[in-house]
Amino acid sequence: MYQFSQRFKITTLILMGLGLLGLGYGFMSAPSTIEEAKAMMASHEGGHGEEHGSADHPTLAEAHHGNADSHHESNSEGSHSEDHGDSTNHDAHAAAAEDHGSSHDQHVLDQMKNRPWSAFYVSALFSFLIALGVLAFYAINRAAQAGWSPLLFRVMEGITSYLIPGGIILFAFFVLSGLHMNHLFVWMDADVVAHDQLIQNKSGYLNTPFFLVRAAIYIGGWIAYRQYSRKLSLAEETASDNKPFVTNFKLAAGFLAFFLVSESMMSWDWIMSVDPHWFSTLFGWYVFASFFVSGITVIALFSLYLKSKGLLESVNNSHIHDLAKFMFGISIFWTYLWFSQFMLIWYADIPEEVTYYVMRFEAYKVPFLGMLVLNFIFPLLVIMRSDYKRIPWLIQTVGIVILTGHYFDFYNMIMPGTVGAHWSFGIPELGGILFFTGLFLYVVATTLTKVAVEPKGNALLEESKHFHY
């Protein structure tokens, strides 16, 4: 049995405490009026503040401009080409252009207020999706009746237990967004929608009640599968026949069908909709690849940790090797999807699509390109060699790098749409990471203490114990 040691428990609590302090600092230091926001920008950006008001300043002013108009301007481009004769639409643009000055200030204030919320959201989302990635991996292994992995099922079930607190936190966050506590999802703001033909066209899908209903269905469906499958998995230990095993197999196949659709829609709802004008048809796959590889990495890290405690004696080199192969392979799969999405948009150069990448290349160069190094080049070169996939410390190092890289992947998905060009990485973001790392470790470690880490009674367990490459 795994013991959640006092020292480890205190560490996770300290992480959560520090994280809360960091997040609290973020909320306290966010401006509440336009004047405060202006003063903060002037002091924060030093010399830039002077030139800020003038249109001469090439990069910063442009970035602000493009950003403030992300709903107005790209809308006018998009709708001009789509519905030429729509006179009401033109009127709306004229109106929007008139109060551009004040709406710009308001917009900047909203973005600065968004920062602590976004810092919280990126970490909350990433930690939840890691558990979801593990759940998908678990279901695939169940549905495929994989022979190598049953030894690791308790580890995976331990990690997926985070879905419950993580899902509740996310849902509460969405409710607060729906109550206009923040401006992460601009399409929830009736004023913005009133001036925005493109969002109006989508409002049959993108409206707060339907959004919350969908979120409840996704989170509820995933948690329901996790709980039921865990119950059947524990029943295998005492069952006299294979009935729980067979039911779990069928359940996994059904869940995967539900998951493929719900995961894709989740990525539109929770991530793509922070840029409500922009769309990409393979976005769901791309997000999936990102959290799938993160989930597998976390399985590998926990397996190595528990093995070092002597609790997974039957887990051998080959199991670790297989996990590392998945880390390597899915990293490349992620890059493939990232590039497929990028290249088509770059080549076609359609304004309403390409703004997404223009923003990231101009204002987010370091996290955007740095993430490619962490997520692709580093794993590619370091764990390409077969022998290296069996070295625990190397897998741990690569694992930490992959997790860092994919955190920044989600950072790049959320921040440009919510915080805009005024991004930075500081205390609120670190606070978010620390809090959710602590919570994640606490929940997973608590679940791992409940049953023996090595399962009993699974029909494929013997094969898994003798697995060798």
Binding site: F339, F342, M343, W346, Y347, D349, M384, S386
Partner: protein, 174 residues
Amino acid sequence: MASKVFRALYTDDDILMNAVKQVRGQKYHIEEVYTPFPVHGLDKALGLEDSRISMAAFLYGVLGLTVAVTMMNYIMIEDWPQDIGGKPSFTFLQNLPAFIPVMFEMTVFFAAHLMVITFYLRSRMWPFKKAENPNPRTTSDIFLMEVAVKSEQEDALTELLLDTGAIEVQVPKA
């Protein structure tokens, strides 16, 4: 002290694997094993060194990548810059996204083809080459193990091979 090569024939890969372990355990030298299909784990049982083909493949891939970069730079940037889809080809870096599929394909192409060719040559297989396997049935249903033996151990080895489940032990004349 002339050494001879005995040939033991087996009909099953599991029996062969056990035989290999026993024969090696008795400090005989196994020259070669011929099988109708790849037997998983046989290389480890025989104590063969790891193949270096993966390192070769990596180097071939790097070569392919270099060729692709040089080729695209020459064709699209230096020799005849073309404006395709409003993307003027002034620098390599500006057009890099368009070249990445080419770079990827050339890397895979070089790695795959040169690796296969290397493997054939290293296995001494080239066009019009005569087959080296001592018994044509090793391409059908028979597993064959060649063991080198000194003259004073011949009887003991024959005994051992038959004990390990060989259906037949072929001893060369003289």
